[in-house]
Amino acid sequence: MIDLPAPKPDVLARRDEILAGLRALLPGDGVITEPARVKPYETDGLSAYRQPPLAVALPRTTEEVAAILGFCHRNGVRVVPRGAGTSLSGGALPLADSVVLGLMRMNRIIEVDYANRLAVVEAGVTNLGITNHIAADGFFYAPDPSSQLACMIGGNVGMNSGGAHCLKYGVTANNLLGLKAVTVEGEIVELGGRHLDAAGYDWLGLLTGSEGQLAVVTEVTVRILHAPEGQRAMLAAFKGTEIAGAAVDAIIGSGIIPVALEFMDRPCIHACEAFAHAGYPLDAEAMLIIEVEGSVEEQDMLLGKLKEICSRFDPISLKVAQTVEESMAIWKGRKGAFGAVGRISPDYLCMDGTIPTGELPHVLRRIGEMSAEYGLQVANVFHAGDGNLHPLIMFDANDAESFRRAEAFGADILKLCVEVGGCLTGEHGVGVEKRDLMPVQFTPFELDQMRALKSAFDPQWLLNPAKVFPLEGNPVLRQAA
């Protein structure tokens, strides 16, 4: 279990006064305090952790965000920024003495500019909402986290989220031009703009993935792209994870960078097949979904080359989609992977480490051994091209011991990722979940230096404190506790 800092007694004591102050800034129903309506904000995608906040504030404009932050800053109140609350690392978990600053009412698409290939949207617009808005004109916003129906662009910036297609199109940071943000003092700043590579320090890059630690994002200028003429997938199943790993190496080595290159292990194949009936081969140890883009002829050409490469690795099955429908059928299982695992097990933890791709067979073998040691099942999905591994650890939340073991198992997997040259998190962020593992990847000095940079933005540690950095060694938070 993860410790949270003690609530600030003075803030709890002044609760009524603080709520009245907030209500004065957000008239109408902008401030929520009734327990029943606060409930949905108690947790996020890491639902094992729950904590009701002091209040939830739901501003509609950047100016309102600035007013709330200024007020909270003057009153020493902690603020937890929140988008859709789909974080899998507890990034949006409230603190008992905090105001949850929910951006979901800031959901306007302000402008779409096709000539300059950009869109200006408010932080509470959903990821898919951007693409849906421009799809009729042939455009899309590239980063596509599996949660894209719900998650919001502000949260995507918070976590620097990725998706299945980021091998080709990059993650959130690579698809932004500008941000409007509010500092903890309530000052509105613009970072970047409508142009590439603004001169000066890369504020845009530093804020992206900073998990709400540095400022609150209210508006985002994203790059948009014209969709390719078409895309099609193929499925390749192999007798061993080593063999599938070698096939991935051969594909990358051939000079083809598929738009997506997804890997599933045996337990995952079985879970997905039982759920989606996508026609996955149940005798395979590992399966790849490979997607290419272009005209039909180009797809044929690329899929032909890929088929030839895969056939060198003694595949159990090779299925090239001939139509869009067949392509969707191949994807169906993968896209439902989380739901599929949710059907076998009441609860699961979705881990998110990255490893050098060459280490995959070793890492999967070790995860298999740990699974036996911990007595917990695990299914692995893997963005194979970029080394981002998602082990889904199944446990029973009603059984405290099972949860404890699941957390310990997860921590061991992430330590293993670091040990083989990778990192604790590829796209889900540190949040509270991996906070106490940070010393595995960083030296005490490196952590102190990052904390000092956080302090440069937020000297009193009011913005989403207790996340990302271990509490141990944090002078500001220890004082407060």
């Binding site: 590439l196 890369d202 002829e297 050098p356 981002n388 990847q441 940079l453 440069a456």
Partner: protein
């Protein structure tokens, strides 16, 4: 020329910086010194050169990852990549036409200046492909950030903070880059356009098409030409150029430039050669939204211009005067963009802002960040901002 310290390893860099911090003596930080004349002149008696920290330390073609010590020449890295048919994604320039060649830039210098070439428009900048760094802060303390994997959101992204910081927040000692396969073939569609506005419209139409245009430049002058590049497998290059031609012929007469010639053309654009900057010219780089590019050229009123990145990157060259600079700054500001005084005689560089001034709030945060990373103010002080 000032005294040069050129340690052979990271420990040597750390010791040199720690010593300078103790003595309160600033250092001009450089890689191989090719961009010494960029931005403001640094007030430092001594130079810290990274040229002896050289060599590729890790290259895994199948993992699309390469690490090299900061002083490694770009040429050495490109040669190693070429053996496996791969390349540095952002197509960084050497800029011999602007700064003189020397032995070419170091990879650390390219990261520190975040300089990217034509491919930036679709494939991302240097900053997008820096997966990891090792560096030494202004107290001589070594640290790492990021790593050697392609996806990493662990902790604050100091790779981004130090990329483009021109050596001011830390001395890069090693960088790890994402690399990608080089395309089999290059091809270009060249369209004779009546004016720059039409040219940018043609580039926007091309970049807004499904054909994966990854170079979009505009040659200014008497007979402007819009250039759109495809880099792909051979079959695709032919097909896509054909489709682009059908789509873009309405903007002017179009011709196809084939592989070898196309590569040479874009090498030149990467190097800003068509700008034809004269030895006595000052050179600016302005970044704006693409449709604002022609307006910047007009408002700056300088004799030489070249547009890349779909019209959004405007290279300008002309008289090295405070008046020219004022016009460029004004043009960039009006267009809502950013400028860099790229090359100028020292007195001009020392007298004017070489980058846009930041607002009060950001400037205050910037100073607090500098106080964390370089509390004694010894890492290339004055390079980016006066004072």
């Amino acid at each position: 020329m000032s005294d040069v310290l050129a340690p052979a390893d990271e420990a040597g860099v750390a010791a040199a910086v720690a010593e300078a911090a103790r003595a309160g003596e600033p250092l001009a930080v450089e890689g191989r010194g090719t961009k010494r004349a960029m931005l403001r002149p640094v007030q430092a008696a001594r130079t810290l050169s990274l040229r002896n920290l050289s060599g590729i330390t890790l290259y895994r073609p199948q993992e699309l990852i390469l690490s090299a010590r900061a002083g490694t020449p770009l040429a050495e890295i490109e040669a190693a990549l070429a053996e496996h048919g791969q390349q540095v994604v952002a197509e960084p320039p050497v800029l011999a036409a602007i700064f003189g060649g020397g032995q070419g830039p170091s990879i650390g210098g390219l990261v520190a200046t975040n300089l990217s070439g034509p491919r930036r428009i679709t494939a991302g900048a240097m900053r997008d492909h820096v997966m990891g760094i090792r560096a030494v802060n202004g107290l001589g303390e070594a640290f790492h950030n990021g790593g050697r994997v392609l996806k990493n959101v662990t902790g604050l992204d100091l790779c981004k903070l130090l990329t483009g910081a021109h050596g001011t927040l830390g001395v890069l000692t090693e960088v790890t880059l994402k690399v990608l396969p080089a395309a089999e073939r290059s091809g270009t569609l060249a369209i004779a356009v009546p004016d720059l506005e039409t040219g940018v419209r043609a580039l926007s139409a091309g970049l807004g098409s499904p054909y994966g245009v990854n170079g979009a430049a505009l040659l200014a002058g008497e007979a402007p030409r819009a250039l759109l590049r495809i880099e792909e497998f051979s079959e695709s290059v032919a097909y896509r150029l054909g489709r682009l031609r059908e789509a873009l012929e309405r903007f002017g007469d179009a011709a196809v430039i084939e592989d070898v010639e196309s590569r040479e053309l874009w090498r030149g654009i990467r190097e800003a050669e068509p700008l034809a900057a004269q030895p006595e010219d000052a050179v600016w780089r302005v970044s704006v939204q693409p449709t604002a590019g022609p307006g910047v050229v007009a408002a700056a009123g300088l004799p030489r211009a070249l547009l890349d990145w779909g019209g959004g990157l405007v290279w300008l060259a002309g008289p090295a005067t405070a008046d020219s600079h004022r016009r460029v700054m004004g043009a960039a500001r009006t267009a809502g963009g950013s400028f860099t005084l790229f090359r100028a005689p020292e007195p001009l560089r020392a007298a004017v802002p070489v980058l846009p001034e930041e607002g009060k709030v950001l400037a205050a945060i910037r100073e607090r960040i500098r106080a964390v990373m370089d509390p004694k103010g010894i890492l290339s002080p004055g390079r980016m901002y006066a004072g």
